[in-house]
Amino acid sequence: ATELRLSHQWSNNDIRHKVAQIVADGVAEADVDLEIKIFGSKSLFKPREQYKPLSRGQLDMTVLPLSYAGGQQPAFNLTLMPGLVKNHDHAARLNESPFMEALEAKMAEDDVMVLVHGYLAGGFAGKDKCITKPADVEGLQTRAAGKSFEQMLAGAGASIASMASSEIYNAMQTGVLSAANTSSSSFVSYRIYEQVSCYTPAGDVALWFMYQPLLMNKSTFEGLTEDQQAALLAASEKAQAYYLEEAKKEDAASAKVFADAGVEIAEMSQADFEAWRALAQETSYAKFVEEVPDGQELLDMALSVE
């Protein structure tokens, strides 16, 4: 049997593992002499060390935030850009747009293709106060997930502290950090609710969306038989539908965990969102366009998706 190796950083009960599992199960059921072996919880590669072997064919598949590879393809930084995605349905429309096609062309340059599209959302947490609008972060030591968010938050007058997400808890506890911005699932898995007074989850509008697809090495895919390819694609389609549904539930679930822990839940208004986006335009969008040769074109494509 052909064996494919899939590496990811998540635990067994994480939605992204389940997406991988659906694909693996679907392929196994199709009985096309193909087996997907999942190496979860960073057991094979470190999170940020996955894209390189994937693109060189040393790893067959992975589920990862594409922005991790932003150092290799700067265009990927658009997949973690503040305010670019408004909500999960909007994210689903982006996945089907010319913008995504352009990104997939970039991935193809690295011999990488997408099997399952998917976005996950995140929010803000404040140690002493709620963070909903740019003025709220001024002068706060803040840890942000993603370069573009760091640029935007710095523009709002926050001080940026760079550290691993696993250090957020301790840093919040001892007061090294006073605000953090990351994904809903990380907020829960790192138990940040024990250390903060206010949480701003992703709601009707959200600022923080991260594209986290299931990727495959393109040559490896093309080397499979037609039956095997068809089985993979069919299983992926099923997984993508599941991914979208679960992604929506995740934000509400994280809000419930925080609320149950007695943390105040704040909401970002449409006006707050616009204020952040205006700030992002001057900071992270501008930086992106400056750094990436065809950046403006890609950004316009993304912004044109209704």
Binding site: K37, F39, S43, L44, F45, K46, E49, K52, P53, R56, G57, Q58, M163, A164, S166, E167, Y169, N170, A171, Q173, T174, G175, V176, R191, E194
Partner: protein, 438 residues
């Protein structure tokens, strides 16, 4: 090949290669490369430098050279001697007072040094000759320092706890706190044994030698102050909101270097270089083992050995304490031959799932693991502390040092038993300071 059988084969080959005299890190790379070529093809080989680099790509590793610099800079001054002399002046009436002073000094020094050899060297340089001069048997003098030195990795800061924290993704701040009470317990057991042994020997000279006036006793106290300043400074930085545990290490290193230079007049470039050279030597050795063990664990995972062993243990229906006993025997045997860092890195990915499945606390287990590693430090054939003592007092035979250390190994085993009976010894302090664990 069945992954379990393959795992056995890897274990056998690894032992053969490591015993061949090749350095531990290179041995791990050789074994990894061999199995990767045979079972994964040449493509995996290409990945080795990348994985090696990736394993080192971790901010927490910074604290390893830093905590080593702390120890070695202070060890190169007379601070260790001051510390032990101060304790001695206050403990003259206690049976075995001199041994007790040395053990106490080891414990205090351990609160500043992340590694054991520095602790051993700092206190032993002065302590061993003094104990022998006063008529303590060679075995007691050498054994107590060898054992006291092992506290360096149990009492925080600790290089092995950092490595465990990285390998198992447990909080390093929490691990450090978990080592405090067991560390004190171990010091207590060491001291109790020393007092009993001295009393039993009936050598009255050991009881009465040296008496100090109260003036002499108070006069020496200021010389202990730099020590306290460092310990308090580091604790404040770590738990007072100034820095994360990894960053704190750098503050500690700077503090120790400055105190060594300003208070102990260590400014001769040659002396400073010796401090840096020794720190670099020990750090690079440890970091290279960490990197190579990373490649080794990639190989184990890639060949599905780690996963299969965890699954297999999961299917075994054994009493959790029998399991814990077996794990301890395994760790002690591994510790005989391999340096602590290598044992932790190779064993943690395999043992942790087992430990968690059996319902043991990972923080508590870190302490048990560390005490096992302490036993390894004073046991042949690779007992780093034995060689440090051998370097300080070349005329005491390794055999004498070894026999002198044996009762202390007994204390360590007793401590493990106590920890099994009262897990709170390890988990209470971190829970009290940092909130209940996950």
């Amino acid at each position: 090949m069945d992954p379990l059988v393959l795992g056995g084969l890897v274990g056998l080959v690894t032992i053969m290669v490591l015993f061949s005299g090749v350095s531990v890190a290179m041995g791990l790379l050789i074994v990894s490369a061999g199995f990767l070529i045979i079972f994964d093809g040449m493509r995996s080989l290409e990945l080795m430098p990348e994985i090696l680099f990736g394993k080192l790509d971790n901010f927490a590793l910074l604290s390893i050279p830093m905590f080593i610099i702390m120890g070695s800079s202070i060890a190169s001054t007379r601070a260790g001697a001051d510390l032990y002399e101060a304790l001695e002046r206050w403990l003259t009436r206690v049976p075995g007072g001199l041994v007790i002073s040395n053990l106490g000094a080891c414990a205090l020094f351990a609160a500043m040094s992340g590694s054991s050899p520095a602790t051993c060297a700092a206190i032993g340089k002065m302590g061993i000759p003094e104990m022998r001069k006063r008529g303590y048997p060679d075995g007691v003098a050498a054994g107590s320092i060898a054992a006291g030195g092992t506290l360096g990795i149990l009492i925080p800061p600790s290089v092995t706890m950092i490595v465990y924290g990285i390998a198992t993704e447990t909080s390093i701040g929490r691990l450090f706190l978990a080592g405090v009470i067991p560390g004190l317990l171990l010091v207590g057991l060491f001291m109790a044994w020393s007092m009993y042994a001295t009393w039993r020997s009936g050598n009255t000279e050991l009881l009465s030698s040296g008496s100090y006036s109260w003036a002499e006793r108070f006069e020496i106290l200021p010389r202990v102050l730099p020590f306290l300043a460092i310990i308090v400074g580091v604790l404040y930085a770590m738990y007072g909101g100034i820095a994360t545990p990894s960053e704190t290490a750098a503050v500690g290193a700077l503090l120790c270097l400055v105190i060594a230079m300003v208070i102990y007049k260590l400014w001769n470039p040659r002396d400073l270089w010796v401090v840096l050279r020794d720190s670099t030597k020990e750090s690079v050795m440890i970091l290279f083992i960490i990197a190579a063990a990373g490649v080794f664990s990639y190989m184990l995972s890639s060949l599905y050995i780690t996963q299969s062993i965890a699954e297999w243990i999961g299917t075994l229906d054994v009493n959790r304490w029998v399991l814990m006993g077996a794990v301890n025997v395994f760790l002690i045997i591994a510790g005989f031959f391999l340096p602590p860092v290598a044992v932790i890195l190779m064993a943690a990915p395999i043992l942790l799932p087992i430990i968690l499945t059996a319902g043991f606390d990972p923080i508590w287990f870190a302490v048990v693991l560390t005490i096992n590693m302490e036993i390894g430090l004073i046991s042949p054939p690779v007992g780093l502390n034995l060689y440090v003592i051998n370097g300080i007092a070349p005329d005491i035979s390794l055999r004498t040092i070894l026999i002198g250390s044996l009762p202390f190994v007994g204390c360590m085993l007793l401590a493990i038993v106590l920890l099994c009976m009262f897990p709170g010894l390890a988990t209470w302090l971190p829970d009290a300071v940092m909130g209940a664990a996950l």
